[in-house]
């Protein structure tokens, strides 16, 4: 390993990334915009998950307990026939006519079923006593923010290394480098390290920007979070190297990278929890580096977990990094 040669390739790769304004802007602004979008969408009373059409204006209703139910949106409607069609089409979960003391639900709608239970329960006397759970309130955006940070990092790692190396190969640049004393180890290390620091820097900026504007919680140690992102980025870049090792067409590389990134996005629980999905899907998710990055980041940011609590995730990321790197380096061809 000749440090001078490594450093020369490292510097040129950095210039290429930093001077490509459109890519740089996209890498910085996209995740902030995404998190901000979620913050706006889920701010205030949050999105209503249940929609009830009320014949006649809502304020004219009799103020029954059912109409005080939270997380239910009551929408005034005038046309009974049109509203019934909406119930049939699942656009409304329930239609209620307070004046006539009657309601309609779609027998196939689980939301309609639940609303019916709420309506009947709300209007009846009960001897249950309400208990409250203790602990901090976590907004959806607080829960989703670590996922979006990690997902942005994943796309940048996979495409920023995998796709770029395939482009170099296709345009003949790798062939030109092969004819010099530069070794594959020096070349690949320069690509990995260059992308690693650029990703960590952009992720830190995105974290700071999103934290400032949206104010998601950060209860754990910044060092622990940094360690998770370093190991996560190395594992994902190494995964990108496997795709880049032999592929000669950008279309094939893009297809393979998409085939890796989109299932990972789904399985790793970026957008929603995988609680309740089939156990074998949950097992499969453990094979994705993104799962460990997101689980560890959420544990640190939301629960304030320490290194011991996330050690399993860290070990998994180290093992995956080593495995992917060995396979990628063995498969690599200049041409």
């Amino acid at each position: 390993m000749n440090v001078r040669r490594f450093w020369a390739v490292f510097l040129c790769r950095n210039w290429e990334f930093l001077r490509d304004r459109s890519t740089l802007t996209w890498n910085l602004l996209f995740p902030i915009a995404l998190i901000a979008g979620f913050a706006v969408a889920f701010s205030g009373s949050g999105l209503s998950f249940y929609k009830v059409g009320v014949l006649g204006a809502v304020e004219e209703t009799d103020g029954g307990a059912f109409f005080q139910t939270r997380h239910v949106q009551f929408i005034p409607v005038a046309d009974l026939a049109a509203s019934l069609v909406k119930v049939e089409r699942h656009q409304l979960d329930m239609l209620i006519d307070p004046a006539e003391r009657r309601y309609w639900v779609n027998e196939e709608s689980s939301k309609g079923y639940l609303l019916e239970r709420v309506l009947r329960g709300a209007e009846a006397e009960t001897d249950f006593h309400k208990q409250t759970v203790s602990g901090q309130i976590i907004r959806y955006v607080d829960w989703v923010a670590p996922g979006i940070l990690a997902m942005n990092m994943m796309f940048s790692c996979l495409f920023g290394v995998g796709y770029v190396i395939v482009r170099y190969r296709k345009t003949g640049m790798l062939k030109r480098l092969k004819a010099t004393p530069l070794t594959p180890l020096e070349f690949l290390s320069a690509q990995v390290i260059s992308r690693l620091w650029l990703i960590l820097a952009t992720t830190a900026l995105v974290f700071a920007g999103a934290h400032f504007f949206i104010g998601f919680p950060m209860h754990g140690s910044y060092f622990d979070l940094f360690l998770v992102f370093v190991l996560g980025a190395i594992s994902l870049i190494s995964l990108g190297l496997i795709v880049a090792a032999r592929a000669t067409s950008e279309e094939l590389a893009a297809g393979l990278l998409n085939a890796l990134s989109w299932p990972m996005t789904f399985l790793s629980g970026v957008w929603f929890s995988l609680e309740g999905v089939h156990p074998w899907l949950q097992q499969l998710a453990q094979l994705a580096p993104l799962t460990h990055i997101i689980d560890a980041a959420r544990a640190i940011m939301i629960d304030g977990a320490g290194l011991a609590a996330i050690s399993g995730h860290l070990l998994a990321l180290v093992a995956m990094s080593v495995g992917f790197m060995v396979v990628g380096a063995r498969l690599f061809r200049w041409e």
């Binding site: 020369a8 040129c12 001077r19 490509d20 010099t180």
Partner: protein
Amino acid sequence: MTVLLETRDLIKHFRGVQAVNGLDLAITAGRCFGLLGPNGAGKTTTVEILEGIQDPTHGTIRYRGEPLGPRFRQDIGIMFQSTALQDHVTGRENLRMFASFYPRSLPLDELVEACALGDFLDRDTRKLSGGQRQRLLLAIALVNDPELLFLDEPTTGLDPQARRNFWELIHRIKARGKTILLTTHYMEEAYHLCDEIAIMDHGRIIAQGTPRALLAAHFDDVVLQLPLADFPDPLPPLAHPVMVHRDMVEILTDDVGATVQELLAQHIPLARLLIRPRTLEDLFLELTGRELRT
């Protein structure tokens, strides 16, 4: 004279195709060696084997009597026909990067002057013209002051003036005693730059020597050219071979006086008569039966 690069019985198979078929070559130090051949002749494969980019299926290749090794990579410079450079990086940064790959390199000022890079050295490589790009790629190939320089169709796509300017740069490199292996589609370029040429077809060398010696060995005639419009239709029979290229009649003759007399006797006007010597292009057509650019 020292043989710098030598091959013995070089063979390369590609998925059932024999691209190189028992090639013996010897490239002498300090000379410009031209490798010519129609597309599909095995020229690019041969050059890539010589450059160490591809491995031969069979045969040996030696640089200064040794198998290709780390020293070979440090001693050679390559200018591929099409090489992409990194986007958003200037010529100066590219030169610095390539210079750092070698234990010794030429001073930047020397390269800038040798390849006339002054006007665009700090420009993004995406914004260079074809000629500027080729000059930068030549400078990158020279960055380690190579003993052996590979130039693969270096002037393809350049306008005539840029091509002439490029030839001037190659002449200066030759004057410094460097060895050059050149492939080209332009016979005029090969004639102008090469001390020795080898013509390849079907993976073999079919002729080798200095351009003058090859022409002298294969031709003892000249070409008389006249417009087809000056002849009656059909063409009258002539004593020497006749070829028609589009609107031009070419008569291959070793006795210009007798042929002119014959044309006069046929009442063919000679006001537009041209006499030219045989060229490498004629030799190429005769040996390979193919156009150079097909």
